[in-house]
């Protein structure tokens, strides 16, 4: 059996280099076809009618006028009379027509009467939502009362971080055809080509083998695109009603921002305490959060500093009349990082201690002391901490105040289930097939790098096919699990296929198969380039046969094999300037130091970190889903008022990936999530350092900053 372990770090030829992403030209030239770009022959367009009320009962629904509207091919009532609507944006009906405009006009003719019920849509004040809050059991460790009494400094505060929405630029939706032969051709925008087939099959009561899924590219997911969704299932039904014509439905932005997923909020009253030397002795938190009507969202606090000796944690889940949460790039972690790092930073300020020293001092309370100490020091150097840091609020005269702040984070990132099929053709062509997807992380490119490395070939001599249920299954691209999964399965499939090729050519080379190696486009006797065949000549020996072998990543065995693993730390330091007259926060710099394992492509890895940092900047300074207490609706369901950072808003971003032999030996670790965690806390702490007071609730918009400065509650 082949030895699958990764080659020595210094001996890699393709892995560890930074080829440009393989689909780069296709995407940048506009040629890449996303499923939202599909125009299939005879394709119909469908739209949703959604509820304007956050909590209501459907009294009646009259679709007669809509059904008669010219061009309409089918209408499905999703919420019949009697349905209790639990959030504004709830799907009431779906209409398909020959054009999108006809479908929309028809939807406008559906008459729905509602009995409006009372709603609750805001959770920032726990006292106001008591009836909607469900408390979980208290967690207790040590003796918090005694610790509070014996501490030199105690700090109490209120902190909050809002609900965000994913804002995938390609909206959620699909083109789907359910033809009379009971087959379903499904082209969704998805993070999970393999599993969405089974989910759709179940929803339609169709055998999974009858459902074919294909997707070449996906325009963003961030954790919100795993399921076929109600609109996918209804579109399939509308296709069936129209004799199997393909139906396209992609959510309007005004719906996408409301019903296609969001990140749960996180609020807490927190009490922390420390000894004079800065060692933290107490953590007490009464937290609450909402993930929509089903509750949900529970930030694991204290975060990273999990070993605070005396702890009491309480948490309540608040049920709101808002659409449900979905996984959001490191679920619960941004909230936990903010709810932990902000009070700790406030405690350091109260101790009059440099927070960098304070965090280093308390690294012994984390599961990876050495990592965080190293990363804090490195990030401090990169951020010019010694030169630029000042005690909180001591930022000189003038309206512009500069400050620095720290955030820390952790994540898993071990590989998911993945199977890869590697085929070697007699003409020397090599291809791999995986039912995976490239979210823009560079999955295609890193698969090709692993394949080329494993076979001693160049990148342009191998082919990668992903995004289709005709290929072997791969897991969902969530939790930073893709790179570990697909790199491992590709490595094993490639070496399994190579073993077969060795067996075919062993005779010709006059050496046993296990004495052969694939190097620089040749199959040769180990260490003897004179006894070799070119790759092409070796493959020709196959005659009419092809070699087709699979390899799998099985998460339960991965740790033993050592090809991929999980568990990383990271530190970010933000440098901001705040105008205390206008409340505007500007990013000067965000420094990211990240633990990373075996990096297959440093270029795309670094891009992941840049992107994650920018997402943190958006979340720290701008983003917030705003619910209207009166109407119960989302007030900012468009990109005019749901703010994202532009190219000018991000300052400079400095990334340090800890690429070294020690990290390399840990195997491949996913990198999409971890660097998206600590930035919000770092920026919040930098703002506090600059202006001398805590802006307790994220985002640090001008309004929240000015309120904090004037002592008003935000």
């Amino acid at each position: 059996m082949a030895d699958y372990k990764w080659p020595e770090m210094s001996k890699r030829k393709v892995m560890g280099t930074s080829p440009k992403r393989l689909d780069g030209i296709e995407k940048a030239s506009g040629r890449a076809k996303y499923n939202s770009d599909l125009n299939k022959p005879g394709m119909l367009h469908a739209v949703l009618l959604v509820s304007p009320h956050a909590h209501a009962k459907v009294r009646s629904i009259d679709t007669s006028a809509a059904e008669k509207h010219p061009g309409v091919t089918g209408l499905r009532v999703i919420a019949p009379a009697g349905t209790e609507i639990q959030w504004a944006g709830w799907e009431i009906a779906a209409v398909a027509a020959t054009t999108e405009l006809a479908a929309r006009d028809a939807a406008g003719k559906i008459k729905v009467e509602y009995d409006v019920l009372e709603h609750v849509v805001r959770e920032n004040d726990l006292r106001k939502v008591k009836t909607r809050a469900k408390a979980a059991g208290e967690q207790l460790e040590g003796d918090p009362e005694k610790a509070a009494k014996e501490a030199d400094v105690v700090l109490e505060g209120y902190y909050g971080i809002p609900t965000l929405t994913h804002c995938c630029l390609e909206s959620h939706g699909q083109v789907v055809a359910w033809t009379p032969d009971n087959k379903v051709e499904f082209n969704p925008s998805t993070q999970s080509v393999t599993s969405i087939r089974a989910d759709m099959a179940r929803a339609l009561s169709v055998p999974a083998a009858n459902v074919h899924v294909h997707q070449d590219h996906v325009g963003g997911g961030f954790g919100s695109k795993f399921q076929p969704d109600r609109w996918g299932v209804e579109s399939a039904q509308l296709s069936k009603m129209a004799g199997g014509k393909p139906v396209k439905l992609f959510l309007e932005r005004s719906s996408e921002l409301v019903i296609a997923g969001c990140r749960p909020s996180g609020f807490a009253r927190i009490k922390v305490a420390a000894k004079k030397d800065g060692s933290v002795t107490l953590w007490e938190s009464e937290g609450w959060a909402s993930g929509g009507v089903g509750g949900g969202g529970s930030a694991p606090i204290p975060y990273v500093f999990t070993k605070v000796p005396n702890r009491r944690q309480q948490h309540s889940a608040v049920s709101l009349n808002t659409a449900p949460i979905r996984a959001w790039r490191a679920p619960n972690h941004q909230q936990a990082a903010y709810l932990t790092c902000a009070p700790l930073d406030d405690l350091a300020a109260k101790l009059k201690m440099d927070p960098l020293e304070f965090f280093i001092k308390n690294a012994n309370l984390t599961p990876r002391q050495e990592t965080y100490e190293r990363q804090l020091r490195k990030a401090g150097e990169m951020a010019e901490w010694k030169k630029l840091w000042h005690p909180r609020g001591d930022s000189g005269k003038g309206a512009i105040k500069r400050g620095l702040g720290i955030g820390v984070h952790t994540w898993g990132g071990a590989g998911h289930d993945s199977t890869c099929r590697c085929t070697i053709h007699p003409d020397g062509t090599v291809e791999v097939e995986l039912g995976s997807q490239d979210l823009g992380t560079g999955t295609r490119t890193i698969i090709a790098q692993v394949l080329a490395e494993s076979l001693g070939l160049k990148l342009n001599e191998v082919r990668v096919k992903i995004g289709d249920t005709n290929y072997p299954p791969s897991g969902t691209s969530g939790g930073s699990t893709t790179v570990g999964g697909v790199s491992t399965s590709t490595r094993k499939a490639a070496l399994n296929a190579l073993d077969k090729l060795f067996a075919e050519v062993a005779g010709a080379l006059g050496a046993p198969a296990d004495q052969l190696e694939a190097v620089d486009g040749k199959i040769q006797v180990k260490g003897n380039a004179a006894k070799s065949l070119t790759w092409k000549a070796a493959c020709q020996k196959l005659g009419v046969k092809t070699i087709s072998e699979t390899g799998a990543n099985v998460p339960s065995q991965a740790a033993k094999e050592g090809l991929n693993t999980g568990g990383v730390g990271g530190v970010q330091i933000a440098d901001v300037s705040v105008d205390v007259e206008t409340g505007v926060v500007r990013m000067n710099r965000l420094v990211a130091v990240q633990d990373c394992g075996n990096i297959i492509n440093p270029r795309t890895a670094e891009s992941q970190v840049y992107g994650a940092c920018i997402m943190s900047i958006c979340g720290a300074l701008m983003e917030e889903r705003i619910l209207d207490e009166v109407t119960g609706r989302v007030l900012n369901a468009d990109f005019d008022t749901y703010k994202l950072a532009g190219i000018k808003d991000i300052g400079e971003i400095l990334v340090h990936l800890e690429v070294d032999e020690q990290n390399y030996k840990r195997g491949v670790i996913g990198l999409g999530e971890p660097p998206a965690v600590g930035g919000t806390a770092a920026i919040a702490n930098a703002v506090a350092n600059a202006i001398g007071v805590r802006v307790p609730v994220v985002p640090m918009t001008p309004m929240n900053v000015l309120n904090a400065l004037s002592g008003r509650k935000s």
């Binding site: 125009n39 795309t604 300074l621 994202l644």
Partner: protein
């Protein structure tokens, strides 16, 4: 907070509470009369004063080619490109002039195709990303620069950024770093590719490659 161009620079900027489609439906029977009358279309001429509300035949000059489509007066240039003509490089993302993913060139000037009625685009030179990105079978320098600098992830905003960057460089061939940051402020990216985009635009301006 982002520095944005005036949507579609152009015609009518509307507040967020306004029903854009309702507004455009109105334009279809009134506001679009003038361009239609001055346009080349005999079909439009045959119904002086009123176009629509039904579909009308129009001809658009796209990437140097005359392309015909039968569209409703309220249809945007973006929807006509994507749904009628299968020209899909311009993406529908915000659909109201906030994000730039649908950027096209109209008479050489970058505009949001979601905020222009197709009728109003008659008689104008429309260039989509397909019109220049791979002209002569080779990537345009801006396209190549985006690839060289990994200025894309999911890629959905990328064609819009490439169009905006090309228009920016046509107008401002030797920009400073600060000017690049201002000049591309009309487009949004969710994956966070701005660091690469800044480098890409500077590379394209210098006409080089950092391979």
């Amino acid at each position: 907070m982002s520095h944005r161009k005036d949507p579609a620079s152009k015609d009518n900027k509307q507040g967020s509470g306004f029903s854009r489609r309702g507004f455009m439906q109105g334009i279809g029977v009134t506001g679009a009369v003038a361009p239609a009358l001055t346009g080349a279309e005999a079909e439009a001429q045959s119904v002086p004063g009123v176009i629509g509300p039904g579909a009308v035949a129009i001809t658009l000059n796209i990437n140097g080619k005359a392309m015909k489509a039968t569209v409703e007066p309220r249809e945007t240039l973006l929807d006509v490109l994507r749904n009628h003509l299968d020209i899909t490089g311009a993406k529908r993302v915000c659909d109201r002039g906030n994000c730039g993913a649908c950027s096209v060139l109209v008479n050489g000037k970058v505009m949001y195709a979601c905020s222009i009625l197709a009728l109003d685009a008659q008689g104008k030179q429309i260039t989509t990303i397909e019109g220049f990105a791979m002209a002569g079978g080779k990537p345009h320098p801006v396209v190549q620069a985006f690839v060289d600098n990994d200025a894309q992830q999911c890629g959905y905003c990328t064609p819009g950024f490439v169009v905006a960057a090309k228009a920016f460089l046509d107008r401002n061939p030797k920009p400073t770093y600060e000017q690049v940051k201002d000049g591309l402020g009309g487009n949004l990216c969710r994956c966070g590719t701005y660091v690469g985009i800044r480098k890409a635009v500077l590379q394209a301006a210098q006409g080089g490659s950092n391979g």
